[in-house]
């Protein structure tokens, strides 16, 4: 069978992590090949390598049997590889026709050859049975149609291999059905399709073969009709790689945080959180596991007061805090380690010592009326730098010059300095190397020993399992199951995370 793409020993490293570790992959011409894996498994990196956005550090790529270097997106197109992005790259004010030809307009004299373009696109639509109104403005069309426009864009440029990056993420169920009809038609006409997803039902329905990635490595390639959802899920989450941590027995104290029947809707009315119930005691780490985008971020932000809740109750030590401002919640003893430290945690151009008091700058100890007590603040900042071993050249340095791990230490130092009773840690080790991650783990565990209540939100299952006293699994805005780590397995949690099991009793989907 002819191979559309062969990857041999592809390795791609980023500072601190190996995103793709010796990847070997063969994609047959004319097949639908799914690539599945958790967030951070290396799917996007691999696709960016195919699309010419990244260069692999090692390894070889063969396209239709010929060894190639894909050193730019244009080169990828020349080779017939087209990306259909998850987030559409379309101009709303332009018509469908204009969007399709944008960037590769064929000219007649000095004007665009509209007639020819219209003709070619019509033919493509007929060939693949695409229903698209090519004169409609893109801002007026549905998401499903916008996606077909994206597909037409790459077909118009002559792609034979189409890469779909989580194509169903933003689609309604009936639009997914239509997409699958389109995909099958494309396959019938001899196109090769690479389909990236973590939705196992869809993968099993559409793909011929499935390759599973985990932690940058290929775990295996299986035929879709010879496997099951459970097997794929097990391949995705893998055997437990429990971290070796000194987790001491801590006596649980009073209930610190209570979340009751919490509902949150987006501005457009979409339900983001649906009836969330849980509590955290002092000395306890409550872990939230889940594939990203299932409401974890919203939950943290609702407790912190960054989002107004629609229904329900949030209590801190028995006292309702749902109507308090962010500042009031902080002064009641909630510390927050946000998942996006650049956007939410730090003011990057400001100095390290200034970032260390962000939000604390009105504290009496840091004021020498009417000024900031710079001397005292700098002493405070130096204290944090020493205690957390932050590597920097000077506390007067803008915090953007620090490495990710050191930036995270600055945030930890600031948030934990005020002796909080509840710590919300969202993806606290994201993008950190092993050393920095371990540092964060020991800090969290020592907070637990000090009797703090900790809400740990993480996409890293190992992390959640190793640190937590209890684990809630979130799926589509709900906590679908709650476990004690010693009473569950990585696989079981994985199945709930991926929506294979949906009711609390498990076993059946």
């Amino acid at each position: 069978m002819e191979k559309a793409i062969v990857l041999k020993n592809i390795t791609k490293r980023f500072p601190g992590i190996v995103a793709n570790d010796n990847i070997n992959l063969e994609i047959n011409k004319g097949e639908i090949h799914a690539i599945v894996g958790e967030n951070g498994a290396g799917k996007s990196t691999l696709m960016k390598i195919l699309a010419g956005l990244y260069q692999p550090d090692e390894g070889e790529i063969y396209v239709f049997g010929k060894k190639e270097k894909i050193n730019s997106p244009n080169r990828a197109i020349e080779l017939g590889i087209g990306m259909v992005h998850q987030h559409f790259m379309l101009v709303g004010r332009f018509s469908v026709l204009e969007n399709i030809i944008l960037g590769s307009e064929k000219k007649k004299g000095i004007t665009i050859d509209w007639e020819n373009a219209r003709q070619v696109i019509k033919e493509l639509c007929d060939l693949y049975n695409f229903s698209v109104d090519i004169d409609a403005k893109v801002e007026d069309i549905s998401v499903g149609m916008a996606q077909r426009v994206e597909i037409l864009k790459v077909l118009y440029r002559g792609a034979d291999i189409l890469v779909f990056d989580e194509p169903t993420a933003t689609l309604a169920p009936q639009e997914v059905k239509e997409l699958f009809v389109n995909l099958r038609k494309l396959k019938e006409e001899g196109k090769t399709i690479i389909f990236i997803s973590h939705k196992l039902d869809e993968v099993l329905e559409i793909a011929d073969r499935v390759t599973v990635l985990r932690r940058g490595k290929v775990i295996g390639t299986v035929f879709a009709n010879e496997t099951t959802k459970e097997e794929l899920a097990r391949m995705m989450v893998g055997k437990p790689v429990l971290l070796k941590l000194d987790k001491e027995e801590v006596k649980k104290g009073d209930i610190i945080l209570t979340v009751e029947n919490l509902y949150l809707r987006s501005e457009s009315g979409q339900i983001l959180l649906e009836g969330i119930n849980f509590n955290i005691r002092s000395g306890e780490i409550y872990g939230i596991a889940g594939v990203e985008g299932n409401g974890q971020r919203e939950l943290a932000e609702a407790i912190m007061g960054l989002r107004a809740i629609s229904e329900g109750e949030i209590k801190l030590v028995g006292e309702s805090i749902k109507n308090l401002s962010i500042r009031e919640r902080r002064s009641k003893g909630i510390a927050f380690i946000p998942e996006d430290r650049h956007k939410q945690g730090l003011v990057l151009p400001m100095k390290v010592w200034e970032n260390v008091i962000l939000g604390l700058h009105r504290k009496r100890e840091f004021i020498r009326y009417p000024f900031l007590n710079v001397e005292k603040i700098q002493k405070f900042a130096r204290g944090i730098v020493d205690k957390y071993n932050v590597m920097l050249s000077s506390i007067n340095q803008p915090v953007e010059g620090l490495s990710g791990g050191n930036q995270q230490k600055v945030i930890l130092g600031r948030e934990l300095s005020q002796d909080p009773i509840l710590v919300i840690a969202a993806q606290p080790t994201r993008g950190l190397d092993i050393g920095a991650s371990e540092f964060v783990y020991t800090r969290l565990l020592s907070l637990r020993e000090q009797g703090k209540a900790i809400l740990l939100i993480s996409a890293d299952l190992d992390e959640v399992l190793s640190l937590s006293d209890r684990i809630g699994v979130m799926y589509k805005g709900k906590i679908v199951a709650e476990f004690k780590p010693e009473e569950t397995t990585l696989e079981q949690i994985g199945l709930y995370m991926l929506g294979v099991y949906t009711d609390k009793d498990g076993e059946t989907a």
């Binding site: 962010i326 945690g345 003011v347 151009p349 400001m350 008091i357 920097l392 340095q397």
Partner: protein, 363 residues
């Protein structure tokens, strides 16, 4: 440490490079009207700096621009564009004039501060509208402040020509004269103590000193008070500031009203020393010059003082080349425009370079 000096040198040098480049490019404009660029620039310097009274005029020229530049810079620190300094100072000036001509018999040490407070109040009122609209209704402050400038022009026109017109005048359309107690003393007396004698036609007054003191105060407020800290944090990362518990809207209100209050002082030097009344020809455009000044001064209070003096010198020099060489004053407007363009470009280049330097050093 050595790197820090390099960065500092670059930052200070950048505006000078830009000014030099602007002068270079405007030379071609001067050549097109058949004048020698060197002679023009030489005349500008000679005319401006040869005599003490000319230097005093430059400082007088720069006074309103310092206030205006500071007002723009304060808003800019929060990431807001106060294009409305123009309208704010006209309203402020009128309110001050009103207090000046309607109250009589007050001692100057009460009357003058009263005018200053009225000016600030006027500016604050005119700044309150756009910031209220922004926070409550999401109206972009650039649009609303520009619109409010036009409303201010017309409103002032109406107030001066219809309501508060000086009826004792037959020909001139203007407000009544300010009471003598409302006029700001000139600096002549103090300077005379140091042996500097200024002629009567120079109007350099205490507002220049107030402007410089205010610039120093703003420097400390922005960099060393909790409020200034919030101002900068919100300006550079509103999302992180909110997450840290800073009330962004409150900061916007306070900061924009401060900007408006400072804007209200822009016209007072002209009103309370030179004119003594407000008429339809009261100087306009200080608000827009303030944007240029803040840009060239890089939103730094001391940079703003220097940029204002630069603009004051350009205006004085323009008078010189017009009188002595018959070169139109508009040449200087072209020079100013070129300066703004070059400063933006140079700042971008130098800024990127400094960022690279800082990144390199950190790892």
């Amino acid at each position: 440490m050595k790197k820090n000096y390099k960065i500092l040198t670059l930052k200070i040098l950048a505006p000078f490079i830009a000014i030099f480049l602007a002068a270079f490019f405007s030379s071609f404009v001067i050549l097109t009207i058949n004048k020698s660029p060197l002679e023009v620039f030489y005349t500008m310097f000679k005319f401006s700096f040869r005599r003490l009274d000319s230097i005093a005029i430059i400082l007088y020229n720069s006074t309103p621009l310092i206030f205006s530049g500071l007002a723009v810079a304060i808003a800019f620190r929060m990431g807001l564009f106060n294009i409305g300094v123009e309208g704010q100072y006209l309203i402020g000036t009128f309110l001050a004039a009103f207090v000046g001509f309607s109250l009589e018999g007050l001692p100057p040490f009460i009357h003058i501060p009263l005018l200053i407070l009225s000016g600030m109040l006027g500016g604050m009122i005119w700044a309150y509208l756009p910031i209220y609209l922004k926070i409550r209704k999401g109206v972009h402050e650039v649009i609303s402040t520009i619109m409010l400038n036009y409303i201010a022009y017309s409103l002032i026109h109406y107030l001066i020509s219809e309501i508060f017109i000086d009826r004792s005048q037959k020909l001139l359309i203007r407000t009544p004269k300010l009471a003598p107690s409302a006029l700001m003393p000139k600096l002549h007396g103090v300077l005379a103590l140091f042996g500097i004698e200024l002629p009567k036609h120079v109007y350099l007054n205490w507002f220049f000193v107030i402007a410089v003191l205010l610039a120093i105060a703003i420097y400390y407020i922005v960099y060393y008070t909790p409020f200034g800290f919030e101002l900068r944090a919100v300006g550079q990362n509103p999302e992180a500031s909110r997450t840290a518990g800073i009330d962004k809207e409150k900061v916007f209100y306070k900061g924009f009203l401060l900007s408006g209050a400072i804007a209200g002082l822009v016209g007072l030097s002209d009103l309370m020393s030179y004119f003594g009344y407000m008429d339809l020809d009261f100087p306009r455009g200080y608000g827009f010059d303030g944007i240029a000044v803040a840009l060239i001064g890089q939103n730094d209070p001391f940079g703003i003082i220097l940029a204002s003096i630069l603009f004051g010198f350009l205006r004085r020099g323009a008078e010189g080349i017009q009188t002595l060489l018959n070169v139109p004053m508009d040449t200087i407007v072209i020079l100013q425009a070129l300066m703004i363009i070059t400063i933006v470009i140079i700042n971008k280049i130098v800024g990127d370079y400094i960022k690279r330097l800082e990144k390199k050093g950190a790892r």
